[in-house]
């Protein structure tokens, strides 16, 4: 198992061995620096804290600058933790660097990102409702959600609205994980990961790349 932090560069296409074009996303991943090593003895669990992309010390609060200084690095823009289920096989030291080489023998990865913001969206876009007919007498109710509850909903009598009822509202900027992207290629020189398919978030958005949890 391995994890890297990265930045989505964008999408393109590449040919596979059989000459088929496959859609790929290019992720600029690492080099990441380990900013803290957590152990069961001191923190109650085993984990490493990883940082990606330097930021000017004046742009971070002083405790954060001090925290990075302890690991001997500059403060990082994007910091996440990677938790081990049990004792890590390898010894990690604060200040160690992680590169795309950690995925050298990985076939599938999961990618977590923050999805693109869609603003306030209706139920058709947000939840995939069918909407109403375009014609046959429908007037000004083409994308409406329909009725929300009735007298006999399973909330008991009096027809309250069921908890979790899907309605319109803010959509996007959620943490989204897409699973089992096959890892097409690795460019160690330029710190690039090329994964098959689309990855959540805009180009330039930060993402977390992990070895697939349940590869198919």
């Amino acid at each position: 198992m391995a994890m890297l932090l990265g930045k989505k560069v964008g999408m393109t296409r590449v040919y596979d061995e059989s000459g088929e074009l496959i859609p790929v996303t290019v992720i600029e991943a690492g080099p990441c620096t380990i900013t803290q090593v957590k152990t069961t003895e001191t923190d109650g669990y085993d984990a490493i804290q990883v940082g990606f992309e330097d930021v000017k010390p004046s742009r971070r609060k002083r405790p954060q600058v001090g925290h990075a200084k302890k690991a001997g690095t500059a403060p990082k823009k994007f910091v996440r933790e990677y938790r081990f289920s049990d004792k890590p096989e390898k010894e990690y030291q604060p200040g160690d660097s992680l590169t795309v080489a950690v995925f050298a023998d990985t076939k599938y990865v999961d990618v977590t990102g923050t999805s693109k913001g869609k603003g306030t969206a209706g139920v058709m876009k947000r939840h995939g409702f069918g909407g109403f007919s375009a014609s046959h007498g429908t007037e000004r109710r083409h994308r409406a959600p329909g009725s929300q509850s009735g007298y006999g909903t399973n909330r008991g009598w009096s027809g309250g609205i069921k908890k979790g009822k899907r309605m319109g509202g803010h959509m996007g900027t959620d943490r989204v994980t897409t699973k089992n992207h096959s890892l097409v290629s690795i460019d160690e020189e330029k710190n690039l990961l090329v994964v098959k398919g689309a990855v959540p978030g805009p180009a330039g958005g930060y993402c977390i790349v992990r070895t697939a949890k349940r590869p198919q």
């Binding site: 560069v9 964008g10 296409r13 590449v14 040919y15 000459g19």
Partner: protein
């Protein structure tokens, strides 16, 4: 910056030496076709009526008449399945997209011959 990285990823899939052909040329496109576990080369002959796209997305369209029915095929320029494109006859074309050939039938489909150096006779 962003496009530079994408260009770098694409560049590994681009062909170094592309055969030269022009719009209006009659070309032989040698394509690799997989049938079950057998691989063979098929030749599609026709007129190049369009070329579009950039980089790895670049394609060209070849049109020919089969049994009085127009057939068009689009080929990605950089596909490893397109083995070779051999121009065999140059046609006189005054525009980059020869979509007007779609409305033509019979003898009118044929473009006037133009002498050029890049064509190879069969």
């Amino acid at each position: 910056m962003k496009t530079e990285i994408l260009d770098h990823v694409e560049s590994k899939n681009l062909k170094n030496a592309l055969s030269h052909f022009e719009i209006g040329d009659t070309v032989d496109v040698h394509c690799r076709i997989k049938e079950g576990d057998k691989v063979r080369t098929q030749i599609f002959t026709g007129t190049v009526i369009a070329r579009q796209g950039r980089g790895i997305n670049e394609t060209f369209t070849v049109r020919r008449i089969v049994n009085n029915e127009g057939v068009e095929r689009k080929f990605p320029v950089h596909s490893p399945n397109v083995l070779d494109v051999r121009p065999i006859r140059s046609g006189k074309a005054r525009r980059a997209k020869l979509y007007y050939l779609r409305t033509r039938t019979g003898k009118a489909v044929k473009l006037a011959h133009r002498h050029s150096k890049h064509t190879v006779s069969k």
